[in-house]
């Protein structure tokens, strides 16, 4: 750091003498790899020029790079008290695809949570979106967030009120975990879950995803290690993806007043209709 330190001292001196502006100091210092906060602290350390000092010549602002100037951090204040989040039954994930930017924060949060839960050894070093139950997919100029829609069959018409994937599972590995059961923060509260001891995996089965893609969406995936089914359990009512989403109202945990199958779409179909909605077009995407 000695080389760096020398440059910084020089800069501090120039700032003190009024040869460079505070803005220039911050720009140089951050270019030298000092964090914005630290640079501001260093700028503050340079004594103010005395009243007799000649005021610095005003130079027009340069704009290269417009990027190198980070917004300054707000002054630290005590965080407001946070109400403890409650696990909520009867909710679903509601995506506004016009607000989703496809940044993948949701998938990173989800994959990190479930990878650590089921594969703690691998999770020490591995990061992989393949363990995520929620997957943003980028089509031409639209982002589709692919996740389980929580569909149910209609007893009066289809002879069952189970989820379609649950109905076709030969192992009864897919179950709805009732309120009061399951693992808080992961399963329970009336959401679907896969019993990984019972699931035989994609090599032997995969009926759950096949029926999902055939008639509903594509809300199931298989982990690349054991190839067992992964279905969104809404984290038992406290979904990590919603917490991770940086875009207001793009991904909400929303009361579900109806059968989730009203939302169900395969990714390509959803992308095509979204493209038509967003761009008023009727072409394939």
């Amino acid at each position: 750091m000695s080389q760096l330190h020398e440059r910084l001292s020089e800069l501090q001196e120039k700032l003190r003498l009024g040869q460079i502006t505070r803005r220039d100091f911050l720009r140089y210092a951050t270019l030298l790899g000092v964090s914005v906060g630290a640079a501001e602290a260093l700028a503050a350390c340079a004594p103010k020029p005395g009243p007799t000092a000649v005021p610095p010549t005003k130079v027009p602002p340069t704009k290269v790079p417009p990027t190198a100037v980070a917004p300054s951090e707000p002054a630290p204040t005590a965080p407001p008290p946070v109400a403890e989040k409650q696990a909520l039954p009867g909710h679903t994930l509601l995506v506004d695809p016009t607000k989703c930017t496809g940044c993948l924060n949701c998938a990173v949060a989800c994959s990190e949570k479930w990878l650590a839960e089921y594969f703690p050894n691998e999770a020490k070093h591995l990061m992989s979106l393949e363990f995520s139950r929620i997957r943003p997919m980028r089509f031409q100029l639209v982002d589709v967030v692919n996740v389980c829609y929580d569909c149910r069959l209609y007893q009066w018409a289809e002879g069952s009120s189970k989820a379609p994937c649950e109905q076709v599972c030969p192992q009864a590995a897919l179950t709805v975990v009732p309120v009061g059961e399951g693992k808080p923060g992961f399963t329970g509260n009336g959401y679907l879950n896969v019993d990984r001891d019972l699931c035989t995996g994609l090599d032997l089965c995969g009926r759950c995803l096949e029926i999902c893609e055939d008639q509903f969406g594509s809300g199931i995936s298989f982990d690349p290690i054991e190839k067992k089914a992964q279905i969104c359990s809404r984290c038992g009512g406290l979904p990590a993806c919603v917490e991770a989403c940086p875009e207001p109202l793009a991904l909400q945990f929303y009361p579900l007043m109806t059968n989730g199958r009203m939302f169900a779409q395969t990714p390509a179909d959803l992308a095509e209709s979204l493209y038509n909605k967003i761009y008023d077009k009727f072409g394939r995407v």
Partner: protein
């Protein structure tokens, strides 16, 4: 091979002549020296002798490299880098946003190097470790968006597809009776990413880009032309292996800190680069107008067509992020115009370079019959048409995979020659390119991408266009109007006012006439060490590879990020500067060698067709101002040698000294070449 973190530990070498795919394992010390992306690409270019003047850009032996850095994968703001030899005969280092780089890392690769030429069109399909050279005859002749759509629909990982097994017996009888199983098996997921070229690349337009996600481009020096020459239509990737990270807790903390900081960055999040033209460039007299004849409008209202709220209300549709970035600086847009050619066409924003190069520079902003010095008073409807023209010309360039910085210089040159009656429509296959005529521009661009008629000459870029007309008309004065440095078009940052870009930066930057390389702030105060430090930092960003738009959010965190990703706990921020110095030295040696120059200053550094730099600015707050304070001899004879000295290069030719190369640890690959140059 020891377990690697951050990296996958292997690079694919594809030989299209032989039809083979082999694996290279880059040694750890090489990765540590060059990180990836730009610097690693230049390492291979120099090491493998591609600086040889006998290997032209379109030679079978030229190599095009798609290289990742350690942050590609889960790092925030990551971009992809392509390194090759440009058709302009200098290094081509070009970066782009998008998901393809992360997908390639997840497939278990640190990059792909392609040599040779295919006999018929091909594309590469990468599914994890398996890379297959596939027939692309059905895609040849299609443009970027269509090609990408088809490739993405074609690729799936083994976990995403399977033949049918569900039978009616798996369902309830009632359900099966209403809707029996469709028998399609599994295969609805769409998780791949692709790099592709359009017809501009296929027909080897010298400034053709490689595009991804419809509107993101590896722009500038013609990487797309090299793909086209190799008959490589695209690379489509699906990776399921993830990324191994040495210290995940530390890495995630940095990632989340950067993302949280970005989430408060209103400049990028609201309208991308829309703030620049409106609030800075016009005020600073750095705006390209009509082939740089002007650099600002007297009527400040003109740039209202490009302010954020106006563009947003008129045409923005949706923000689009790169992976793990919360700035989402790109917005898709749909053109609103009374002209049916443009109305409804989808484009992106435009970003700043497009506003300048295929906006002001093509004369789109003024009313007919008015000059930039006249009052304009554009109505809302007229502003919409201005915006539409910029967006449409952006779309043309993106879809055909062309660079609109060089493209904008090239087209504006033709327009100015026409304005000055140095050429006529007879020289342009009947096209009359008057300022602001988007239909004439449309016609010219279509000739360029097909290399049809005069388009065959225009397809070789601005300087070659000027040379062609100068020879044809037997009028060397024409060369004056090519606004190029090192033979390459100037980006939308003027130098005459000294308030925007800096002349020394354009002369010294390692990628011809680059505008994002960070040296200007130092050079504008003749602080060479600061300028060099700025340039070097940019190299590290292009090698990691992460986006400069997010640089402020990374400040002070970069070495920690590299340590957390790779486990190289001795990696420091200072190493990033050394990496930049390596890249600059290699680029300099590569460029001088491949061009076969005897006198670098005269033949390369002063290759400066910038007549306009020394024409006084005609209006605005910096009226009368010229580049280099009107003393080019000072720029080239005082500032340039002082810069070389700050770099540790010889002060007569600007060649890295033997001691400097040794200090940088690249004497083994570069000293023999440098010795010949000294």
């Amino acid at each position: 091979m020891a377990e690697m973190f951050g990296y996958a530990g292997k690079i694919a070498r594809v030989d299209l002549t032989a039809g083979t795919v082999t694996v290279i394992e880059p040694p750890v010390d090489v990765l540590k020296k060059f990180l990836g992306g730009a610097a690693l690409g230049m390492y291979y270019m120099v090491k493998e002798g591609l600086s040889d003047p006998a290997i032209g850009a379109f030679h079978e032996k030229n190599m095009i490299q798609f290289l990742l850095g350690p942050t590609n994968g889960f790092g925030p703001n990551a971009r992809s880098t392509i390194v090759t030899k440009s058709a302009y005969n200098f290094n081509c280092i070009t970066t782009s946003g998008g998901r393809a780089a992360a997908e390639l890392r997840f497939a278990g690769w640190d990059g792909i190097q392609v040599v040779g030429k295919a006999k018929t069109p091909v594309y590469l399909e990468v599914i994890d470790d398996k890379i297959t050279i596939k027939d692309a005859t059905h895609l040849w002749g299609k443009d970027s968006e269509e090609t990408e759509k088809e490739l993405l629909a074609s690729i799936q990982a083994p976990l995403e597809k399977r033949e049918t097994i569900v039978t009616a017996g798996d369902m309830t009888p009632e359900w099966a009776a209403v809707r029996p199983p469709g028998g399609k098996g599994i295969g609805a997921k769409r998780l791949g990413a692709a790099w592709v070229i359009g017809r501009g690349g296929e027909n080897r337009v010298w400034y053709a880009c490689v595009t991804t996600e419809a509107a993101r481009a590896h722009g500038r020096y013609g990487a797309g032309a090299i793909m086209g020459d190799k008959k490589l239509k695209g690379i489509v990737i699906r990776g399921t292996k993830g990324q191994k990270i040495y210290d995940k807790a530390k890495f995630l903390k940095i990632l989340y800190d950067i993302q949280a900081s970005e989430a408060k960055d209103a400049f990028w999040r609201l309208y991308g680069t829309a703030g620049i033209g409106q609030s800075e460039s016009n005020v600073q007299s750095g705006y390209p107008i009509r082939n740089w004849q002007w650099c600002s409008w007297n009527d400040p209202d003109v740039v209202k067509s490009q302010d954020g709220p106006f563009m947003d209300n008129t045409s923005f549709k949706k923000p689009l992020s790169c992976p793990n970035c919360n700035l989402h600086c790109m917005f898709s847009s749909e053109i609103t115009s009374s002209d049916p050619m443009m109305n409804g066409v989808l484009s992106d924003m435009p970003d700043w370079e497009a506003m300048g190069m295929v906006g002001g520079n093509l004369g789109y902003m003024e009313k007919a019959g008015k000059t930039p010095e006249d009052p304009q008073q554009l109505t809302q409807a007229e502003r919409r048409e201005v915006l539409a023209k910029i967006q449409y010309t952006t779309f043309l360039h993106d879809n055909y995979s062309l660079d609109y910085i060089e493209g904008g210089n090239n087209l504006a040159l033709v327009q100015e020659l026409y304005q000055r009656k140095l050429i006529t429509e007879a020289d342009l296959d009947g096209i009359k390119p008057v300022w602001g005529d988007v239909h004439a521009i449309d016609a010219l661009v279509k000739k360029i991408i097909l290399r049809e008629g005069v388009g065959d000459h225009l397809a070789n870029g601005t300087l070659e266009t000027a040379k062609y007309f100068a020879e044809k008309k037997n009028n060397p004065e024409i060369l004056k109007y090519a606004c190029t440095t090192h033979g390459y078009g100037q980006p939308a940052h003027g130098v005459r006012s000294h308030a925007d870009q800096n002349d020394l930066e354009y002369v010294t930057v390692n990628r011809a006439t680059e505008h994002t390389s960070n040296g200007a702030a130092g050079f504008s105060k003749l602080d060479y060490a600061a300028g060099v430090a700025g340039q070097d930092v940019k190299c590290s960003q292009d090698s990691l590879v992460h986006c400069i738009f997010a640089a402020g959010h990374w400040a002070g965190k970069t070495a920690d990020m590299i340590q957390a990703l790779t486990g190289w706990t001795d990696y420091t921020e200072e190493d990033l500067f050394t990496l930049g110095a390596r890249e600059y030295a290699l680029c300099r040696i590569f460029d001088l060698t491949t061009r076969g120059v005897k006198d670098p200053k005269k033949e390369w550094d002063m290759m400066n067709y910038q007549h306009r730099w020394y024409e006084p600015l005609p209006n605005g707050p910096f009226k009368g101002s010229v580049a280099a304070s009107g003393t080019p001899e000072k720029l080239f004879n005082e500032q340039l040698p002082a810069y070389w000295k700050a770099r540790g290069w010889t002060d007569d030719k600007g060649v890295p000294t033997a001691a400097k190369l040794k200090e940088l640890g690249i004497d083994d690959i570069a000293e023999a070449l440098a010795a010949k140059l000294r």
